[in-house]
Symmetry: C2
Subunit: 200 residues, 2 copies
DNA sequence: GAATTTATTGATTGATCGCTACATAATTCA
DNA sequence: TGAATTATGTAGCGATCAATCAATAAATTC
């Protein structure tokens, strides 16, 4: 991680910056400002490089964002952590929603979910297209997990979880507190429990 | 409405276009593309005027959007329609959420709520600032209505409704169907009923 | 040392952004 | 009829956008 400059067998002039660090920096910037509002100039200034170096390393703004978004979805609220076969599905969902409330409000400068917030853009926005693909994969994964414990209502339960998380992400960006979102998650869980356990 | 060209007492050269029609056109465009993604060029082309005429009539893009957003919030899902004193608060909320599901999916090119979707932007985005002010006023109004029927849990119930509507608006933009959103609204209502009626 | 390879710097490119200056056209009021 | 007023068309402002070009620098390979 710190030996990015060494790269023994590399020919040519070595990089003067760490691409991984640049991805971390970019993640924070995209999370704060969004895909469209964040310009190359702001990225390169924050990383401490010139545009040409940025494009040599990452190819394009879209490719740069895609790498960041892929890493984000793999790290933040990974579904495998919550859905285990020895745990009632409703408990898994409750834990997921509660943890989402905390994650989305952990840093006021980067509130909400990077992926879900990147969906809020024009249809033809490149950032939205990338985020949409990632969000759909995640959604299918979630639905598969829920289907294992509640096959009859998996689709609607997945929609409820998805809508709730999107709403919590939006609310977090509008400044709603962690405690409030935890309560929202709890109320949503009540409805979901009723749905899954076959209540009215 | 059709006599905008007459305006008996008006001095100077008369307008060649209907500002009200231009507001309608702009509402559809903003709803489809969002504040930032919609440029003056696209607006003026759709309305059939030149930029100079646009600025003479509306002052700025922000002022134009503000007039559209104010009209939108007054017309779409007006809270007074749903909250009446002779109706249990949970029924009012259920009707509001159900109608939101239908409204948000009525037109696929303008899915979701114009105000809520305009909140998804950079903090310093002018469109977001305008939408945020309108959304906050609406939120306070909603909380006041809910407090009349359920004062003890008005704050959290308001948060749940707000989050659910924001999530439904986002889902509608991602292509989720009306039927699915109606089911989501129904599940959310179950949780809210439990909250309001003091259940577990 | 010479050739090759890769990354850097610095200066731009063409497109688009919101917005406006200027002259002209069309109307009302005196 | 002429002055005042308002809207229009043309043309372009400075700023910013993502992305790139040519020249140079720093490494490896031969």
């Amino acid at each position: 991680m710190t030996d990015h400059l060494l790269s023994k067998g590399a020919r040519g002039r070595p990089r003067r910056f760490d691409p991984n660090a640049a991805l971390i920096t970019g993640r924070a910037l995209f999370h704060t400002h969004g895909y469209e509002a964040l310009g190359i100039a702001a990225i390169t200034e924050a990383v401490g490089i010139r545009p040409a170096s940025f494009y040599a390393a990452f190819g394009s703004k879209a490719a740069y964002f895609e790498r960041i978004a892929e890493a984000y979805v793999a790290e933040v609220l990974p579904l495998e952590t919550f859905f285990r076969d020895d745990c009632p599905i409703i408990d898994s969902i409750a834990k997921l929603l509660g943890e989402a409330a905390r994650t989305y409000t952990a840093c006021s400068d980067q509130a909400g979910c990077l992926i879900l917030e990147s969906l809020r853009a024009d249809r033809n926005d490149e950032g939205r297209r990338i985020a949409l693909r990632i969000a759909q994969i995640r959604r299918e994964k979630l639905q598969a997990f829920i289907a294992r414990g509640a096959p009859a209502v998996a689709l609607i339960a997945t929609d409820v979880v998805t809508v709730t998380m999107a709403g919590m992400s939006a609310a977090a960006r509008d400044g709603v507190s962690c405690v409030c979102l935890e309560q929202v998650a709890a109320v949503a869980t009540v409805g979901l429990r009723s749905l899954i356990e076959g209540g009215a």
